[in-house]
Amino acid sequence: MSTTLEPSSTPSAPTSTIRGSSVRAGDRVFRGLSRGSGILILVTMAAIAVFLIVKAIPSLQANTANFFTTQQWTPDAKPAYFGIAALTFGTLMTSAIAMLLAVPVGIGIALFIAHYASRRLAAALGFVTDLLAAVPSIIFGMWGIQFLTPQLKGFDEWLATYLGFIPLFRNDTGVYTRSILNAGIILAIMILPTISAITREVFLQVPRAHIEASLALGATRWEMVRQAIFPFARPGMISASMLGLGRALGETIAVALMLSAIYTINWQITEPGGITFASNIALKWNEAGTIGISALIASGLVLFVITLAVNMGARIIIARRSEFSGAN
């Protein structure tokens, strides 16, 4: 490196003015390049919205059904007849189940890593949860349908038998596979690393003084967690959960393998059924005609808007939090 330093470190006065202009040119080019890449990201985000809107319009014009309240999906029929009601229901229901399971467990793991485990165990467990995030979703899907579903059959049956008086768990089909509940469980496993990784970061930022003050007053460890850690980390926990939600909403292949692609709203979540925005796109893509593709793009646009809203919300909460954390 010293060879690159020497020539410019000993400029004589006259050459430096000449070189000055060329230096500024190099700077301008490099700044332009890096600024351009930044702008490219904004352009990409805008382009995603624009192209999806433009290409969704033909199907929305051809549609003879109400786009938002129709459950049926037959865009290539003549006349085209399709809507996103079943997709919305399936997407929200699987994500809700995933959140219900993954948020408490994810926060538990984060607590364990940040404040319960020994240092070495914490590092190992952090590594393990990161590995979990690196497993491709298609592998989760295959594992889910071939191995997890048979394992869950007993649990699903137990739910339907003993809690069947609650309509949600009732099963009139006697079949316990490819259900919204099972898809939600797979999603929960998949979003666990997202939630626990971000929550862990926030837990580690809790000022030592808050923790020790609480312990010094005689609090048990759990009381310390509730008094010192949760209040400080609440915005971080909320936004971590929302980022997990964003991932669950957009998950495609694992859900496509776990669900049975039935286009009706069925509240009995242990029965086979369900379809989501993302899995519908993957499953219908290759058989779709011109209007069919356009209709899938329209549904993708809705998914994009939903995930965008969730992610922006999460980021705004995080950003607000990082502003006041500087004072600590």
């Binding site: 190099g26 490219l40 985000m45 497993v135 491709p136 290759n286 999460a314």
Partner: protein, 368 residues
Amino acid sequence: MSGNDLTPGSLTPDERAESDTLLHAALAGGKLPRWATAASGLAGLVLAMVLNVLTSVDGVAGTLVVAVIIYVLVQTVWSFRVEGRRHSIDRLATTGIYATFLIALAPLVAVLATVIVKGFSVLSLNFLMTSMRNVDPNSTQGGVYHALIGTLEQVGIAALIGVPLGILTAVYLVEYAPDAKNRRLARSVSFFVDVMTGVPSVVVGLFVYTAFVLTLGMERSGFAASIALMILMLPVVVRSTEEMLRIVPRDLREAAYALGIPKWRTVLKVVLRTAMSGIITGAMLAIARVAGETAPLLLTTFFTTSINFNPFKGPQAALPTFIWDQFNTGTPAAVDRAWGAALVLILLVMILYLGAKLIARFTGVKRV
């Protein structure tokens, strides 16, 4: 002196132990013995086994669930009687938090074990070196060669474009944005990089299809898939590079400026070089993340069973689409091949992942 009488040194060991116990009892209240956890666990296990024999509780899973419930009940009630409400809640919470640890571990172990066991029986040199051309779904012949080529090319091109773009964006955010007059641009770039991480991969696939295939007339090809993968890895590269650039000490930059080196050369030769190992780690993690993406490939490429070295023309297979195709074919031989390909894919991802972690561990910039 009376003061001397109170120092521990003047007590016999027995007296000291007694006073310690008294003091402890007075200050700390009742406490469960150290073996309480093990005892409650044993009680749970034994009771569950008895119930297993006597009642309808059966199966390993059922017995374990009952054992855990009994364990939690015994410990909580016991602790409540001896230590009081607050400590029994604390023990309950601790048990819960330890349980989440096992819950996190279980699926990873199960997934990896399944993939390794199922995949290993298929994996062979022949599996890696043959394509699926003219292979009957029921035949156990054929392999992933064409898909491996596709994945390496598509992910390689994505990295070739995405990594430099990501690094440049991070350089902009860290090195140029703070001095700029207009901070709004930098702030919105930073915000949308974060938002971009959350865009579902299937939506990115749709975007590439609408923009490049439908509008610009590019054909569905390996290169279209590369663009989608590039968009997916971009925000991850930006974030990790940004983090690395921020921990490069200011002194290094200022030393370079003091020597009269222009800013762009400082960034290239000093800042980026110092942070290089961290940047490589981040890039490898980003590549590992997108290597297993299936949905965008389904939308932007046509699947094929033949070898195609040209990512710009014609249908090209990739490992994720190979798995998708074989798994949906559904014959036992095809499903076996899907698991074999899953093992290859997971090995690829894990090598990238572990490699990145090793680089970070041994050559990383030390945080100050």
